[in-house]
């Protein structure tokens, strides 16, 4: 009954699942982060990115191992 309009509407067949999939992805993200306790320490996280523990800690650990071996 509405040949022209309905033809335009067909695009919804792709767009709606795409929108829902994106939404579900975000929801999965929320569940994932809750499970990983990402919101447990919001204040600490802000300062933790300033630490260069990735360098220091390795150095420390290496030291520890060497000392033990000696």
């Amino acid at each position: 009954m509405c040949r022209d309009e309905c033809a335009d509407m067909n695009v919804l067949i792709y767009l709606i699942p795409a929108a829902l999939a994106l939404g579900l992805l975000a929801l999965y993200g929320l569940f994932w982060s809750l499970k990983r306790e990402q919101y447990d320490d919001l204040e600490g996280a802000a300062y933790r990115i300033l630490q260069d523990d990735d360098i220091q800690e390795d150095a420390l650990k290496d030291d520890g191992i060497h000392k033990e071996k000696k």
Partner: protein
Amino acid sequence: MAASADYSHFVKTDKDGRSRLDLAIDGITCAACLDDIETAMKRLPGVTMARLNLTSHRLALTFDQSRVESGRLVGALEAIGYRAYPYEQRKVEADEAARFLMLLKCLGVAAFAAMNIMLFSISVWSGEASSMPQETRDFFHLLSGLIALPAAAYAGQPFFISAITAIRQGRLNMDVPIAIGVTLALALSVYETAHHAEHAYFDSAIMLLTFLLAGRVMDQAMRRKTRAAAGNLAALKGENALRFEPDDKDNLVLVPVAALAPGDRVLIRAGERVPADGEIEQGASAVDESAITGETSAKKVSVGDAIYAGSINAEGALTLRVTAAGHAALIDEAARLIEAAGAARSRYMRLSDRVSRLYAPAVHLTALLTGLTWFAFGASAHDALVIAISVLIITCPCALALAVPTVQAMASGAFFRAGLFLNDATGLEKLGEIDTVVFDKTGTLTLPEPRIANAREIAPELLQLAARLARSSHHPLALAVARSVGAAAPLPDAEETHGQGVAAPFGAHEARLGSAGFCGVDFSSADEASAIFIRHGDKWAKMAIRQTLRADAAEIVAGLRKKGMKIHILSGDRPEAVAPIARLLGVEDWRGGQKPADKIAFIEALKTQGDRVLMVGDGLNDAPALAAAYASLSPIDAVHLTQTQADAVFLGERLAPVASALEIARRARSLMRQNLTLAIAYNVVAVPVAMAGQASPLFAALAMSGSSILVTLNALRLRGPGKSASLPPKQAQNPGAARIEQAMAP
């Protein structure tokens, strides 16, 4: 003897053989502490993981118990300036955390569903006037339903569960109309979608859940924060006891009080707090039971006498055999009185429950009458039913259910900032109605421990010197001196002459702290027992040690009186000790020598006069009175049983939180009332529209979200600009200075 403490009681071992310990940490002021603490811990051998939570001020440690002792971990923290104590998560806190997580997940699901359904709904509403084909509309309704049904089943759990529990117990709460409204809205929408009808209410149902969950998450987040801070305080108060090892009679180990078991023998030195209830096995002394009975003069005890946890050993060393807690006659009596008094208290009905008890039947009846009326006037059964259900959807108490929790969340935040912890949300409502305040004296109006009463008259350098000397002694008077002045480094080479005093070389002369004879001062007076002297060269001073009023007690009591509160003092102490305090505070109605039952009788008498009584007290003897009063507060130093009876617990050495509590609660209560009125006003406007059959899904969405947002914004006013200025300033950073000032009071 001063070995590091043994905290193995708190250490948990996991499957892989690693030991875990959680510590509550005091003294974290900045982000740099994070680095300090974690690095210091990781440097210790055997520590595999150290992670500090900067929000809750807790440190999680994983370590190898064979390589490092738990006591050493705490010692290492103390060495870099942080006080730490093992923290044992209590069940309440774990439950609250789990509840919060569940609510957050529900909110996530509901918000996801609401956003996606709204996409379809808005298309349908805007397409209504133009040319949206029926197939498209049905398709959109179908999709909305597919999202809404599982989402509502998941996100609605908190409401459904609570509603079912309430109905089973034969009462109504706000969740009952919510659950009915949501369920009916979904059922109607499914039916309408299946019959290609114009309106579906999937969006209303889901949006309602989203708003309600947002309110609950807010409330729960605040509660959880308060709970965590209170848990830390409780842990950091954690005291240790010197226990004789069972197998080796001469070996003393410092263990946490929580690890004591009946039958253990502990040593209590002079000046120490009694760690557990028990019977004296060896030694004789005088104990200060002011924390238990309110009586300030010490009681003589000897072998065979029972003493209670929380009292202070004033003189000689005692060996105590721990008996099971709760077996002491005094505690049994208190528990019995609490039970009797508490029954009256549980009859209190919360504001929201009172409203919902009227609200639920009223709306269900309205819906029924609407349906019947339409049917009687010739509408089809289907139309009449749809209109009846739309009335229920419109009246689904979204704003009403948000009215109280949003204010509650804001108020517990304000309590938290004022140094108060709310034990129970009903307390907030009750505190707002108070018109009479009854204070206990010892430990409530006065500081829990004695201080120097005449500190202002003493030269500051002498006072400082006295404090430094006092650090080397465990004598109760020396402890009082050390407490009054605050931080002071102990003098090197200090030597204590037992029962006489402490002496140490300082500058050109020797400094002495102790009795008049020890200091070579010719001074004698009647109250010799509670005076201590300091001498340095020619200069000397007499320090009177007494229970002192809290710094702002007079000001706060006067402030409360100005607001029209009636003030009374009820004390377990001798009348002679109460009279000067009452005179100083200008309180006319005071009683001394009150037994717990007398206190209850007094409060009951006030209650029969129609007074709403707030009881503020700290001793074990106050616990029954706290339970009997309309609302109650206690300081954080109060004995455990008393704290659990209080609606809120306040921190610090000032009385100001009492005034803040009443002020915040009063404002919170009036905001709650305003919110409830707003929510009911919304119904008065919206219900006639629904009854007329004009409530389209668009109208429902606008009306419901509008009223919910209005109520939430109104609750935020509790924190609005200018409001916080009326709250008293935070406690002074330098407690020493504050204490010296307040010592002038009596």
